[in-house]
């Protein structure tokens, strides 16, 4: 039995070209039936299960069990809350339930910070699944979700193309897509887009990301480390190369996830929209890892501001928005991991957003004479790009090795 398990290929999502061959073969029946206006629901469940299973190899079976237990935990909690919300709406229950949903990810994030070892319940995709569950819980509380089907919820949570690293979809949006089958014209448009995204993804991930991340970056890092902790221009090289690698790697992955979703007749939202042409940091967050930043915007920033305004905690709107930016980005930093560089990365972006707003206000009030043209826009793009690259250097954790020999 173990031999059979060991002989199964370990298919890390979108990791190798062979993965795409298996995946595309497996979803071909879905594509054909969607072309004829039908969803093969049962077959799709089977494909989902098989590919999720193959993401874990034999040695990783505790992770697979962790994933199943986690899914069950989240689903049961959301289901109980939905039933509860039909007759009552207490804030305490809502906060308790949010905490219970967050409990697994808190354990996953806190364990390495405390014991230096990864938590046993950690698995790929735990944080992305948590976002989906918490988002659904909040919308149930708002009374925006009127129907709750457990099977549909699991399908949404464990939607294979996006299970490991997003994009983070929303239950209501996903369900709306799923309830109807796109007509032939629309579906052909989706297939055309999917093919486009797949090839763009190949270029990003297997050409640019590979060259930057696996060829260039190790060399530059080694050279920078040779002089560590003293500054050399190699460090600047590490900064730009890592930043670009991060973009191509993640944007490439996201394009694959969106492409496969489209082929399966689901319009999973895009994650990136030319982030490096942003003219300020606020625009950057509307273009970079969009499903994550919109999640934070809608479920943390807006709700915090809403509650604070309602209870009149802070009168001054500029103080309130600054505080909300800091909170929002601090939580995002912690979510990446409880290390000094992730948290500082979050705070740096929070501060960036505050300065950005302050500058926009100053310009509107006192600097009306300042010209606005292609040249000033170009300057703004350059400043934003370099700020972002600096923040990614922090994010990479390289400075932890560079300054402290990786001690922290």
């Amino acid at each position: 039995m173990i031999d059979i398990v060991n002989s199964l290929p370990n298919l890390k999502a979108y990791g190798t070209p062979i993965y795409f061959i298996y995946l595309l073969l497996a979803i071909t029946p879905l594509v054909i039936s969607l072309y004829f206006g039908k969803r093969l629901v049962k077959y799709e469940v089977l494909v989902n299960i098989v590919f999720i299973y193959l993401m874990f190899d034999a040695r990783n079976w505790p992770q697979l069990i962790a994933l199943i237990a986690f899914l069950a935990w989240q689903t049961i909690l959301v289901l109980i809350y939905f039933k509860y919300r039909q007759r009552a709406n207490s804030s305490q229950i809502f906060y308790l339930w949010t905490f219970l949903l967050l409990l697994p990810i808190i354990i996953v994030k806190v364990t390495p910070a405390v014991s230096g070892q990864n938590s046993i319940i950690g698995f790929l995709g735990v944080s992305y699944l948590t976002f989906r569950a918490v988002g659904t819980l909040i919308e149930i509380r708002d009374g925006a979700i009127h129907e709750f089907n457990t099977g549909h919820f699991i399908r949404f949570m464990a939607f294979m193309p996006a299970i490991t690293s997003g994009p983070i979809d929303r239950f209501r949006r996903f369900e709306k897509d799923y309830q109807k089958v796109p007509d032939r014209q629309e579906y052909l448009g989706m297939v055309a887009k999917a093919i486009n995204y797949l090839f763009l993804g190949f270029l990003y991930k297997f050409v640019f990301s590979y060259f930057l991340g696996s060829r260039l970056l190790p060399q530059l890092e080694a050279k920078a480390m040779f002089y560590s902790p003293h500054f050399t221009w190699y460090l600047v090289g590490v900064m730009y190369v890592y930043g670009l690698y991060l973009f191509f790697d993640f944007a490439g992955y996201s394009l694959f996830a969106v492409a496969i979703s489209y082929l399966m007749g689901v319009k999973t939202p895009m994650n990136f929209n030319k982030p490096f042409i942003s003219k300020n940091i606020k625009e950057f967050w509307n273009r970079w890892h969009m499903t994550l930043s919109f999640w934070f915007r809608d479920y943390i920033f807006m709700r915090f501001v809403f509650t604070a305004t309602r209870h009149k905690w802070i009168k001054n709107r500029n103080t309130l928005s600054s505080l909300a930016y800091l909170l929002n980005m601090f939580v995002m930093g912690c979510w990446h991991g409880l290390t000094w560089y992730y948290i500082l990365y979050g705070l740096m972006h929070g501060l960036g957003l505050i300065i950005n707003d302050w500058w926009l206000r100053l310009k509107k009030k006192h600097l009306k004479w300042l010209p606005h043209n292609k040249f000033t826009e170009f300057i703004a793009i350059v400043i934003t790009f370099n700020f972002v690259m600096l923040s990614f250097l922090l994010f990479s954790g390289f400075l932890n090795r560079f300054w402290f020999g990786g001690k922290f």
């Binding site: 909040i138 919308e139 708002d142 009374g143 925006a144 606020k282 915007r297 809608d298 920033f301 807006m302 709700r303 501001v305 809403f306 305004t309 309602r310 709107r317 309130l320 928005s321 909300a324």
Partner: protein, 80 residues
């Protein structure tokens, strides 16, 4: 122009710290894409709709693509 639209223009002028004339000039344009309204302004808009028109808009019901012009905001308010 109807009452709701006038009210929305009044609120928008307040939350974006401009005047009603400026807000009127935005008619038909995308409020978010043009940077007239941001998340902060959006929340203030929702709070004021609640206070002044006594209409409760849950944040979940706020979908940017449905609230991005003056007329769409008015339509959404009429629906609730």
């Amino acid at each position: 122009m109807d009452d709701i639209k006038n009210k929305v223009i009044e609120i928008l002028a307040d939350v974006t710290s401009t005047d009603e004339e400026t807000v009127r000039s935005w008619d038909g344009q995308d409020l978010f894409q043009n940077g007239f309204l941001d998340s902060m302004g959006t929340v203030e808009l929702l709070v004021q709709i609640q206070d002044e028109l006594d209409i409760n808009v849950p944040v979940s019901e706020f979908d940017r693509s449905q609230w991005n012009t003056l007329d769409k905001i008015c339509d959404q308010i009429r629906k609730l």
